[in-house]
Amino acid sequence: MKNQLKYRFIGVLTVAFSLGSCNGFLDEEVFSQLAPDNYLNTKEGIESVLTDGYARAANMNSNNSIYVLAPQEWPTDILYQSGDNVERDARNFIDFNWDPTITFIGNNWDAPYQCIRDANTLLESIGNANVPEAEKPGYIAEFRFLRAISYYKLYFMFGPVPLRTSTTGELQLARATDEEIKAFIESELIAATADLPAPGGEAAYGRAHKGAAMGYLCKFYLNTKQWQKCAEIAKQLIDNFDYGLFSDYQTLFSVENEQNEEYIWVRPAFASSDRSTANSWSNTAFPDNFAEAPALGVSYLPTYVNWPNEFRIYDSFYESFDPTDKRRNLLVTSYINSSGETVSLLGNDNIRSFKYLPDPGAQGASHGNDIPEIRFADILLARAEALNELNGPTQEAINLINEVRGRAGVDDLQLADFTGTEALRNHILKERGWEFYSEGHRRMDLIRMGLFISNAQSRGKTNAQAHHVLYPIPQAVMDSDPLLVQNEGY
């Protein structure tokens, strides 16, 4: 009996000690994540990471939909913000006293670089992936497209940034020169255009196509003032594809008219409770106790959320419109509140942009309106502007502008009304404001025309100085790489 017990005990001890010989005991087994060795070999793996790349480029998670737009419009003559927590940061944008620590700059840096990371990872993996050879050039073109548009966004926010084209290089990386980054964006977009499918031929709406790549190239040439190239590529876009103006400006941006002939590239939104692909605009557009905007047929649904974070349109911008301009109709100047009273928003810079008409299927703060990044009207006006810069006012330029005006229901411009390049340029700036407010183009339009600072000064923003045309590199980014040099003035 005793011996048995003892042997049993020693037996158990032996088993316990022999645990040590189990080599696998310390192997780290992965359950909820995927190991790189076998994941990027598959088409599914490639597509899944590519989807993340598109998501980073769109940058629509949580409130990013509007906080990507905010730095493009808050410092301009169209839009400002007040109310709620955001006001503290918004004031810095509005008053031109932002510094590298301000929020909403960081998410304009990180998301594009995460997209670039994904694209570089995919470019390095596609060669050995189990994907039919014939499909590879198409994939590669998508990766290069994503990477190029990310650098495009970074460049116009921060100036020349570090040019990272592989995942294996040194971690620390100095900024590229202005020429390097511009050459990269241009050549990559050209290369991507070649292998991308024609618009409509992409595997799913939301993936890249020739029109998108050419659209970015056109906007790149426009904002870098390469007028000839801009005019040419705009013409190709106009001539080669079936893009056109959507007939009704007022409902162009509503959910039911998405995937229309005018949208060349969008940041796609879809209403969901996790707000991972959300358009948050309406939450900031609804005024106090909003119940109804009869002019637009919009009623407040119980599923909506009305934030005290208010995006407000300056009266002066509203007043700049031709009263017959249909585009002005999306600016709400009076509404019915929940007590049934009609409230006017005129007179104290409190007009609201309902450009993204509230989504009937909204889930709380999440609306499903896609946000256009490039639409056909932009290409028309880009060509008009380029032609004006090259040749002064011409009938062709005027016609292009009139196409856009026609849809808005306002009178045609006459060539005779414009005495020179500057006069038409000034009009194009106004026209672009009327056409593209709430779409995040205003800052670049003003900068391109050399008016960003003077416009701010004239609005009493005495802090505005020349260096404000570039945002500072976020402090956290500066802290992370000693090779980076901050933009001058910050």
Binding site: Y113, G206, S273, T303, G364
Partner: protein, 1019 residues
């Protein structure tokens, strides 16, 4: 080798069985108390070396059969020293037992064994029941808060069951855990959170709830805190943050003992913060608008129904607390047991917060044979936690305190429709809608314990097998109902988060104990493996037909809103350990230990680490030259060196994997994606700490004054640092081993018997200093880190300064009307804050930031006094912290409000600068952000030093001679009675940021002042 061992064991067993065949004789007598002569009923008597025992009757008499009158009797009784008596031919033997003298007999539990206190070479603080904190105690860490020098216990929240940070000897790590390892009855606990999410639209707390809540503090017999490396090295890669060994009570041979303890009491917010009342708010806001700080549209037009004191509405006054504990213990010389039941119920001082615990324990030990012992130590508990949103968040995620502090006091509680009034100025729900409209309930079940067998293989050689397990299962339900803005928009939001953390331990050790003529040896060697398996699952739905079903039928929600997620991870530790204690001439002590630890968490190139230690002790009082000094009872010098590790980082940090990416929209529908998770680091390994400790134990005047002094220096290198990597990589950080941090300190603990005799007064003093210095950051100039709401870049980590030093702007005062404004190019006006322009370039910007303090106290102290006179006892406990700073982020909200129409702390606003009141301290608040958000500054970083009368307890022991009751005591106690501090927030001792040495106070769940009435009864 094994065969020899087997034979040896066989021989040993055989030799013991021989005795059985002998003839029998009877020995009788009585057992009495050596001091009083009173008979001891229930004392155990057995013949040494023979199985079987008898107990004394009520008169203390016994009667036992012995085989020979040359045998020895062993006599034991709870609370008395066990005696072995030579029968020496007598048949009547009266035995007098002396009370245990704890100071002499104290045995210290160290990892994988015990040592006599006098033989201890390392720095270990033992706290027994008498030393524990008194009053309402939720968890084991609260028992020792303030009682052990070098152990910092900081509450993260005044919430029932709220988290607690414990740091032993400072902080050695930036990104890995800094909590000590807890070992309960030989089982190292995994205290990681089971459920990490907080539920949809329910704001998350920054800190986890206290995982030690599931252990009943009443079950705890002693807590040993292992501080120096010679004590902790035996726990290797988990030893660097110190080790807390918890030993639970066990039964003793003798009659059944029944103990019942209970208390009940009330709690109230100990200190309230002063906000602007309705009139002050209206006048102040309107005056600021008059001064140009706002537009007419923002003017406060009137007060609805007298306004509302929002904080008062979310406080729960006279929150109830009660605790009941019932235990049974006893046994005979072969089997001892203890079983206990506990019920604990505490309401919080905020509405709808409550924590309940039901727990049971069984500790059982049985001697199968003389050499073979089996035991089990098992605890099971159910913790039910109800809580309100609170913590470090804002906007729609705000908790009740943040909402109540920011909400407009001129609003009425309800609007004209009878629903909670909403402010139009902020995206924050009505504080009561948050408190009553966001329900959260967590049910946590934990069962853990060990089963062990111990076999004496040979004289002095024992083998032990210890098998342990721990299973925690938790489910958290949150429901955001239609009282809230979000719940109303979504038609109710229900979330269920479920998780299970389990681990098992298999451990085999050999113990060798041998006494030689002039020396003794104690050695242990073993092997241990522990594997941790965690999984979780959560589901969420919205859009319910009614709120009534809550989280109980997710299927009723809108199917398009259903969301699920799940995860699983495993990590393992495999270790070999050994330790030798050698004592020569009872004067010279040496301890050497080594642990070899392997962890799955680390890179393939660094799976195993080696953690050695060495300690020396010299009992100087045993030397001839000191032996004759009467006043000197104990004088022992100790010195130790050792190396320990810290492996507390998440799983999979060394590998590059692909995890969940962002969602995107293809063809108008959402799709999921995957993204690279991190930059891999195959060289990743533990943090290594090397610690030197020099200590002195002393006792004077027959140990009326005893104490210990310790000085240590602990250098942590290869810090596990989430190193910021250039953000252009698409990543923000990479887990690396880099840099070093040093913690140094001096610790004193003194116990004195000030008065003896009928009126007794005992004191305990604990005092320690702490200096933390970042020694090396591996080439990075600094790391700026920390955030709370909109406040970012709070602290700096740089060489030569303490970790997480507050980094911001020094405020000189307020710009006055006749100041010389030519010294600045900044846009400032009279009444604005005047910051120090460090570099004199006329512009105050990021280059002008300076260190404003740090969270490490210069010293921490406590002073415990126990008075007794006859049956009356009085316990008075003071404690304090000096020289620690804390960022008061509610003060940040006051100086840098999100917008004008936020309520704020009253004092700065009511005494603000105006042309007629040119305050030198408070600004005008007209343009708070004009100079940028210089939120971390010398106003918002406050001195969090304090002195506190922590606990007073008055007890009366009922005179019960000859009664059926063995003992009965009634008491009243008060906790958190008085605090002296300059700190303006709720409590300088609370740190909602969670890390004891990086203090950020924001929306703290306030601390309670507690009064209890209690009773302890022994049957």
């Amino acid at each position: 080798m094994r065969r020899i061992l087997t034979r040896f064991v066989l021989l040993a067993c055989w030799s013991l069985t021989i005795h059985h065949a002998m003839a029998q004789t009877t020995v009788t007598g009585s057992v009495t108390d050596a001091d009083t002569g009173e008979p001891l009923a229930g004392a155990t008597i057995n013949v040494v070396g023979i199985v079987g025992s008898v107990t004394t009757d009520n008169a203390g008499s016994y009667n036992i059969q012995v085989s020979s009158l040359t045998d020895k009797l062993q006599v034991s009784y709870v609370g008395y020293q066990t005696q072995v008596v030579d029968i020496n031919g007598k048949t009547v033997l009266n035995i007098r037992l002396a009370l245990e003298d704890e100071a002499l007999e104290e045995v210290i539990v160290v990892g994988y064994g015990t040592v006599r206190k006098s033989d201890l070479t390392g720095s270990v603080t033992r706290l027994g029941e008498d030393d524990f904190n008194k009053g309402a105690i939720t968890s084991a860490d609260q028992l020792i808060a303030g009682k052990a020098a070098g152990v910092q216990v900081v509450q993260n929240s005044g919430e029932p069951g709220g988290g607690i940070s414990v740091n032993i000897r400072g902080v050695g790590s930036i990104n890995a855990g800094n909590s000590p390892l807890y070992v309960v009855d030989g089982l190292p606990l995994d205290n990681s959170s089971v459920v990490t999410g907080s539920g949809a639209n329910f704001n998350g707390m920054r800190t986890t709830r206290n995982p030690l809540n599931s252990i009943n503090p009443n079950d705890i017999e002693s807590i040993e805190v292992l501080k120096d490396a010679s004590a902790t090295a035996i726990y290797g890669a988990r030893g660097a943050n110190g080790v807390v060994i918890i030993t639970t009570k066990s039964g003793a041979a003798g009659g059944l003992q029944v103990n019942y303890d209970a208390y009940a009491g009330v709690q109230n917010v100990a200190k309230k913060v002063e906000l602007l009342g309705p009139n002050d708010y209206m006048n102040t806001i309107n005056a600021i608008i008059d001064a140009g700080g706002g537009s007419d549209a923002q003017r406060v037009e009137g007060i609805q129904d007298g306004g509302t004191d929002w904080l008062e509405n979310v406080y729960q006054s006279d929150a109830a607390i009660q605790n009941h504990n019932l235990s049974f213990s006893g046994g005979n010389e072969r089997t001892t047991f203890l079983t206990s039941l506990n019920y604990y119920d505490q309401q919080g001082v905020l509405i709808n917060s409550r924590n309940k615990r039901y727990s049971a324990r069984l500790n059982l030990e049985h001697n199968i044979q003389d050499r073979f012992k089996l035991g089990v130590s098992l605890s099971t508990s159910y913790v039910r936690d109800q809580y309100v949103p609170n913590g470090m968040d804002l906007n729609e995620r705000a908790g009740v305190i943040y909402a109540a502090m920011n909400y407009d006091p001129t609003l009425s509680l309800y609007d004209e429709n009878g629903v909670y009034t909403l402010s139009k100025d902020m995206n924050i729900d009505n504080p009561l809608a948050i408190g009553n409209g966001k329900d959260a309930l967590s049910n946590l079940y934990r069962t853990f314990g060990t089963v062990y067998g111990e076999y004496q293989l040979a004289e002095g050689l024992t083998a032990k097998l210890n098998i342990g397990g721990d299973v925690i299962s938790q489910r958290r339900d949150t429901y955001v109902n239609r009282l809230t803005i979000e719940g109303n928009a979504a038609g109710g939001i229900a979330s269920i988060l479920q998780g299970k953390n389990s681990n098992y331990l298999a451990e085999a050790t050999l113990n060798y104990n041998r006494t030689f003529e002039n020396s003794s040896l104690n050695a242990v060697a073993g092997m241990t493996g522990q594997r941790f398996i965690n999984d979780d699952f959560s589901a969420e739905a919205r859009g319910f037909p009614a709120d009534a079903t809550g989280t109980n039928n997710l299927n009723l929600g809108d199917p398009t809103t259903h969301r699920t997620s799940s995860g699983k991870s495993i990590n393992s530790l495999l270790s070999y350990l050994g330790r030798v204690n050698y004592t020569y001439a009872d004067k010279y002590l040496i301890t050497a230990a080594l642990r070899i630890d392997g962890s799955s968490r680390f890179g393939t190139n660094n799976k195993f680490g080696y953690f050695p230690s060495l300690a020396l002790g010299w009992k100087m009082n045993e030397e001839d030259f000191l032996k004759n000094i009467d006043a000197l009872s104990v004088l022992k010098l100790r010195a130790s060196w050792g190396r320990t590790g810290n492996q507390e980082i998440g799983n999979y940090q060394s590998m590059s994997t692909f995890g969940g990416g962002l969602k995107y929209v293809y063809n108008g529908t959402q799709v999921t994606s995957t993204a690279p998770s991190r930059i891999a680091n195959p060289d990743l390994k533990w943090e290594t700490s090397e610690q030197i400790n020099i200590g002195l134990d002393f006792g004077f005047l027959q140990n009326r004054i005893t104490g210990t002094l310790d000085w240590y220096t602990k250098d942590t290198r290869d810090m596990l640092l989430s190193l910021p990597v250039p953000r252009s990589t698409g990543f923000s950080s990479q887990m690396t081993n880099i840099g070093s941090v040093q913690n140094r300190g001096f610790e004193v603990m003194i116990a004195t018997a000030n008065l003896t005799g009928p009126f007794k007064w005992d004191s305990n003093i604990s005092f320690n200093t702490l200096t933390n210095t970042v020694k090396n950051l591996g080439g990075i100039s600094n790391i700026i880190t920390g955030s709370a709401g909109s406040t970012g870049q709070i602290a700096i980590i740089r060489e030569g300064d303490p970790l997480h030093s507050f980094y911001g702007y020094e405020i000189l005062g307020i710009w006055q009307e006749n100041d010389d404004f030519s010294v600045t190019d900044d846009n400032v006006n009279p009444g604005d804050i005047k910051y120090r322009d460090i570099n004199g370039d006329k512009v105050v910007n990021a280059d002008d930031r300076v260190i404003l303090g740090n969270s490490f106290p210069d010293f921490i102290w406590s002073f415990t006094n126990t008075f007794s006179y006859k049956n009356i006892g009085l316990y008075v406990f003071f404690e304090g912290v000096n020289g620690a700073s804390m960022l008061n982020n509610n003060m940040v909200d006051t100086y840098f409000p999100a917008n004008l129409k936020r309520n704020r702390l009253a004092e700065p606003l009511l005494n603000r600068w105006t042309p007629n009141n040119p305050s030198a301290k408070y600004p005008s608040f007209v343009s708070p952000n004009a100079q940028g958000q210089k939120t971390v500054n010398s106003y918002t970083v406050e001195d969090a030093s304090y002195l506190r009368l922590n606990t007073v307890r008055l007890s009366y022991q009922l005179p019960l001679k000859g009664n059926a009751l063995r003992s009965a005591t009634v008491y009243v106690s008060g906790q958190n009675l008085l605090t002296v501090t300059d700190y303006t927030g709720y409590d300088p001792a609370l740190n909602p940021n969670g890390s004891a040495n990086f203090r950020i106070d924001w929306n703290a769940f306030p601390s309670a002042r507690t009064f209890l009435l209690g009773v302890t009864i022994g049957l």
